[in-house]
C-alpha cells in the first residue's frame, strides 16, 4: 500500500521535471548520422555518380518503390538512366542502403518531406542525387571493380595485376 503511495508521489513530482518533448517545428531535432530518413544518391570522391544501376536496391525494396534503368556511357561506365523512388510508398527500412554494393544509395537524417500532393513524393534522379559522398567517404567502386569504365585501366585497379600477355609462355 505504501509502495503504491510512493509510486503515486514519484509520478506526481514528474510534473516539475524537464519535459522530453521537442516542440518540433519551432525547435529542430538533433538526429544521428545513421538515422533512416530521406534517401539520396551520392557521388564518388572523383565527383562521378556512384550508382552503377545494379538493381539490387530495387529488388531488396519490400514495397517495390524503386525503379531504375541502367545505361552506359562511352567508356562503359554504368549509371542509371533514370532512378525513381516513390516516397509515398517508401517505408524507410534502409534495405536499399544495405543492398547497395557501391555506397551510392544512402538514407540521411532528414525526414521533412511532407507534401500536400502525393505526386510530389515521386523523386527522380535529379531530386535524389547530392553532391557529396555521404556517410562513406573515399570509396569509388570502379577503382576496385575488375572492368574498365574510364576510371582506371585494366590491371591498374586496387589489387590488380597488369593484364596477362596472352602470347607469353613464361610461367
Amino acid at each position: 500500500m505504501l509502495s503504491h503511495l510512493r509510486t503515486m508521489w514519484l509520478v506526481f513530482i514528474h510534473l516539475f521535471k524537464k519535459k522530453a518533448t521537442i516542440e518540433y517545428p519551432e525547435e529542430k531535432v538533433e538526429l544521428h548520422p545513421r538515422y533512416r530518413g530521406r534517401i539520396v544518391l551520392t557521388k564518388d570522391p572523383d565527383g562521378g555518380e556512384r550508382c552503377v544501376g545494379c538493381y539490387l536496391c530495387a529488388v531488396a525494396c519490400p514495397v517495390d518503390c524503386i525503379a531504375l534503368q541502367a545505361t552506359e556511357d562511352e567508356n562503359g561506365r554504368r549509371y542509371p538512366d533514370f532512378f525513381r523512388i516513390n516516397f509515398s510508398r517508401c517505408i524507410f527500412c534502409g534495405y536499399c542502403e544495405d543492398a547497395c554494393p557501391t555506397y551510392a544509395i544512402q538514407l540521411i537524417p532528414d525526414f521533412e518531406m511532407a507534401e500536400y500532393n502525393r505526386q510530389n513524393l515521386v523523386f527522380e534522379k535529379e531530386d535524389l542525387l547530392i553532391d557529396s559522398e555521404g556517410k562513406y567517404p573515399g570509396y569509388n567502386f570502379y577503382r576496385v571493380a575488375g572492368l574498365e569504365a574510364g576510371v582506371k585501366k585494366k590491371g591498374e585497379g586496387v589489387n590488380e595485376e597488369p593484364p596477362v600477355d596472352v602470347h607469353s609462355l613464361l610461367p
Binding site: 503515486m8 514519484l10 509520478v11 514528474h14 519535459k19 518533448t21
Partner: protein
C-alpha cells in the same frame, strides 16, 4: 417546477457535460506531464481545443453497427451509462441551495443509479456478439457487483454518524470535522470502490486493451463509443463529487471563497487524483481484484461498520 429549478437543472447539466468533455484535455495533459511529455498543446490556447477537435472527430466518424450485433441493444447500451451517471448527479448538493433534488434518501438513490451502470456494460458486451466484448462484460458485471457491496457498506459509517441519507444533512454534519477524519477507513474503501465502479485504471479490467482489445466496447465506434467515453469521465466526476460531499465537507470552507468554488476546488483535486492513479499504478490481475475485494475489503468494511456503530452508540450515550 420553478424557473430557478429549471435553471439549476440546465446549469448542472451544462457544467457537467463540459467538465466531462474538458476532462479529455485535462487527462491527456496531466498524463503527459507526469510522463515527461507535453501532451496536446497545439489546438487553441494550451491545446484546450483538442476537446472540440476530438468531439468533432467522434461525430464525423463512421457510426457503424456490426451486422452480427443485436442492433437495438447495441444502440441502447451506451445511452444507459450516460443516463444513469447523469441521474446520480441529481442528489449532489454543489452549494447551499444548488441541488437538483434534495432527496432524503440521496445516498440510496446514488447507489441505485450507479449500479444501473452495469447494465450498460453487460448489454453493450452482449449485443456486440464478440467474444472479447462478452468477456469484458462478464468481468465488468462481477467486478461491479462485488464493489457495489463495499461501496454501500463503506458509506454506512457516514450515514450512522449523520443519522441521515440526505446529502445536504451530511455536508452540514461536517461543519466541525470532515468525515475523512472520523471515517478514514470508510473514505479509503469508498475511494477504491469508486475506482472499481468507474472501471478506471488500475481497475479497468473490463476493457483491458492489452488482453481484451477494448473489452465491452470493442465493436463501438463514432459517437456511440463517444458516449462510453463521456460516461467514464462523468463517472469520475460523480465519484469525485461524492467523495467531496461525503468525506471532505462538500461546499464547506473558509468564507473568502464562495461555497461553489470550494466544492469545485475539492472536486478537481480528486479528479486529478484519479488521473494520477492512472498514470502511476499498473492493472491487477482479474482474480486478484475479486479476491482482494471479497477477502480483504469486505472484512475491513464490516469491522469499520461495527466500530463506527459502537462509537456512535457510545457517543450518543455520553
Amino acid at each position: 417546477m420553478t424557473t430557478e429549478q429549471i435553471l439549476i437543472v440546465a446549469g448542472v447539466l451544462f457544467v457537467l457535460l463540459n467538465i466531462a468533455a474538458g476532462l479529455i484535455w485535462v487527462e491527456r495533459r496531466m498524463l503527459a506531464l507526469w510522463q515527461d511529455r507535453l501532451g496536446p498543446n497545439r489546438a487553441g490556447p494550451l491545446g484546450i481545443l483538442i476537446v472540440l477537435a476530438d468531439t468533432l472527430k467522434l461525430f464525423f466518424k463512421e457510426d457503424w453497427i456490426p451486422p452480427f450485433a443485436d442492433k437495438w441493444v447495441f444502440i441502447l447500451a451506451p445511452a444507459i451509462v450516460v443516463a444513469s451517471v447523469l441521474m446520480s448527479f441529481v442528489i449532489i448538493p454543489f452549494a447551499p441551495g444548488i441541488v437538483v433534488a434534495d432527496l432524503n434518501i440521496g445516498i440510496l438513490f446514488f447507489l441505485a443509479m450507479s449500479s444501473m451502470g452495469v447494465y450498460s456494460i453487460v448489454l453493450g458486451g452482449w449485443a456486440s456478439n464478440n467474444k472479447y466484448a462478452l468477456l469484458g462484460a462478464m468481468r465488468g458485471a462481477s467486478q461491479m457487483i462485488a464493489y457495489e457491496v463495499f461501496m454501500g457498506l463503506s458509506l454506512m459509517g457516514v450515514v450512522m454518524l449523520t443519522g441521515s441519507f440526505n446529502l445536504g444533512d451530511i455536508v452540514a454534519a461536517q461543519k466541525n470535522w470532515w468525515f475523512v477524519v472520523t471515517q478514514p477507513v470508510g473514505f479509503v474503501i469508498f475511494f477504491i470502490a469508486g475506482i472499481a465502479e468507474t472501471h478506471r485504471l488500475p481497475f479497468d479490467i473490463p476493457e483491458a486493451e492489452s488482453e481484451l482489445i477494448a473489452g465491452y466496447h470493442a465493436e463501438y465506434s463514432g459517437m456511440k463509443f463517444g458516449m462510453f467515453f463521456i460516461g467514464e469521465y462523468l463517472g469520475i466526476t460523480l465519484i469525485s463529487a461524492m467523495i467531496v460531499t461525503l468525506f471532505f465537507g462538500g461546499w464547506l470552507g473558509p468564507a473568502f471563497l464562495p461555497p461553489l468554488a470550494w466544492f469545485a476546488i475539492k472536486l478537481f483535486f480528486f479528479i486529478g487524483l484519479f488521473i494520477l492513479l492512472r498514470a502511476s499504478l499498473p492493472r491487477p490481475r482479474y482474480d486478484q481484484l475479486i479476491a482482494y475485494g471479497w477477502k480483504i475489503i469486505l472484512p475491513i468494511v464490516l469491522a469499520n461498520l461495527l466500530i463506527t456503530g459502537a462509537v456512535a452508540l457510545w457517543l450518543r450515550d455520553h
